[in-house]
Symmetry: C3
Subunit: 272 residues, 3 copies
């Protein structure tokens, strides 16, 4: 099932429009190319609607907001009007009022297909206040085997409330559409030592949605599994003296080589 | 001939002013350092004229336009007034009116030494309308052995009309000054899986122009050959498990080590 | 002594707020993660004060100024009010009036804990005029064994005048608080072929300051030694065909693995 989602990306090579932060834009573009999609980054309000209209999906990431917000609303509304999938990555929601408010205003104005963030960011969006520490999740919020049941219920409720598939990633990843929740146990802690693994996943999720528009839950789950599996493969290939910079490259390289069979064979998930 | 152009970059270490997109700015800076030049990125309208005045050449890339356009005009005009080479990379021309119009207005206002793009972008600039798919060329436009004669005539005409050397890169690269056209058959398809190889080439072209101001056609052809040769060397060094992220590094590494002899020995071109 | 400074970063994992250029922001984020800190990049004037308030230190880098200046002043003043360390990296001061004036206005308005730049940038700030060539130091300014005594006196005077620890990096690095000066002889020339090694060092210095707030001189000296030692380790691991792109990754990888014992054993400095 997941493997087919991956193959559809390679077959259709969707163009993905990213309005995203300048910190990780290059890695987002390269991971989109690695998975078989084609990236375009365009944040000027004067062109975002046209670029979205050309694209198979839109990825909005609030990692650096300066002068990008107007374009986010325009592009998101156009994507909705055209029925194109839209991903929101609410980077740092909870860390500043600007981020929290921008994310909440986006959710009010735009129908998102997937909202992907860490647990602290999603809790902030659910409750209106948060304890996000910068762009990383607060340890107190972490999804663990002990807190799993509560976390699944929370993510389901959030998906139900927003109408979006919620993808909450961390040590355990949860992807839910309010009825079914994928509980995913792939990935490696070292991914947290590479800036932008979340941003890259959001971009790749947009590619999986564009190539599999009829099943956003499965498409998002496949993207999350693919990222986790590639994090594992990348770590297996890391030599002892290599660190987080080389790991970033090996992660994208693994996405470049990932095939349906490997994804199917290595994905570890249950549906609740 | 080409090797001398490369050596002149290493000898003169020109400072290159880039007004370029945030997606690939880092790679552009590192490839400039790799080829022996010195990069400076400055897009604030309040300083671009001074920075251009300090620089050996100017590279204008419209990959992300937000708040950068005013500076592009100011810097370009200053470069013209000072007789410094100027490169235009019309990234995504044809994908939005903003990009098409900005590129065309730049060409009207500024005398470019080289305009480097993919075939769809250049066709857009020639005809005023385009079918650019995001930032990648449309397959229908591709320069192949079958369409070569027509493509050479088109590129010559474009160079004649704009007064710039036209560098159209793809599976076959064409570099023309209206009279002579370099038809270059270096490079590897994998280069299309790395974001910004075009941007990097435009930056490197500016370095070659700065170091070889008396022969822009040969300088641009040498830069295009150098990029293609390095794409080949990088692929030869790629291990089976490595993908597009590592390839990017090996490409820049190859530029770092490229010498005149290797460039001369591996460049595959004819002049039409 | 230096090793303890490094360990304090890993123990406290400080959040570092960076208002920094888009060219090297990704590398700055990854080197902060490598040394054990947590990066946040936020330059929107509407949020910088809140982000600074959450952070252990603030790093202001003027590498690309477009639309970032207002936020720099707001964040810097907030950091001062809260007693948080603040680093200034005056990238390209001397190359344009905008850069020189912005750096000088920042120094007048904000109490910096450390000002880190190359010798030409610091001379520009000291004298009000400069000969900075783009973002690289002018060869005529270089700190060598011959000019060392004069350079130490200059750096001490600059530290005394500004009240900041001055960190002037180049072939020989000087870190001074007006009374004592660390003369550091680590590092490799190849570091100059990687864009943003200075930016990365400034970001890492902010992390060392946040983790060692009571001794800014020693913290800054430890960060400078760590960067130089990692430059050496990275070069030892570089294979003959590898160049500046891979060197960048090996440099960050080395920071990821650096421990107190290695830093203590390899740091080469004297105090004058």
């Amino acid at each position: 099932m997941l493997g087919e989602k991956l193959e559809n990306v390679r077959k259709t090579a969707p163009l993905i429009h990213n309005i995203t932060n300048y910190v990780t834009a290059n890695d987002c573009a390269n991971i989109l190319l690695a998975c078989g999609a084609s990236p375009t980054m365009a944040d000027d309000a004067a062109e975002v609607e046209e670029i979205t209209a050309l694209s198979g999906a839109l990825n909005i990431n609030i990692g650096t907001l300066n002068a990008m917000v107007t374009g986010m609303f325009l592009a998101g509304k156009r994507a909705n009007a055209l029925g194109r999938p839209v991903v929101l990555d609410p980077v740092g929601a909870g860390a500043s009022r600007l981020r929290t408010d921008t994310a909440r205003r986006l959710i009010e104005a735009i129908r998102f297909t997937v909202i992907r963030g860490n647990i602290s960011e999603i809790k902030t969006l659910a409750s209106g206040s948060g304890t996000t520490k910068g762009v990383d999740a607060d340890a107190a919020d972490a999804v663990t085997e002990e807190t799993l049941e509560t976390a699944v219920a929370f993510v389901k409720a959030f998906a139900g409330k927003t109408g979006a598939v919620a993808a909450v990633t961390g040590a355990i990843d949860l992807v839910s559409d309010a009825e079914r929740t994928f509980v995913i146990r792939n990935g490696r802690p070292l991914m947290g030592c590479v800036t932008g693994t979340g941003c890259m996943l959001s971009a790749m999720t947009a590619a999986y949605l564009a190539a599999n528009p009829e099943c956003p839950l499965e498409a998002a789950a496949a993207a999350v599994c693919a990222m986790g599996v590639c994090g594992e493969i990348a770590q297996e290939r890391l030599r002892p003296e290599e660190g987080n910079a080389t790991y970033r490259n090996r992660l994208i390289d693994a996405v470049y080589h990932l095939d349906a069979k490997t994804l199917e064979g290595r994905a570890r998930y249950e549906i609740r």
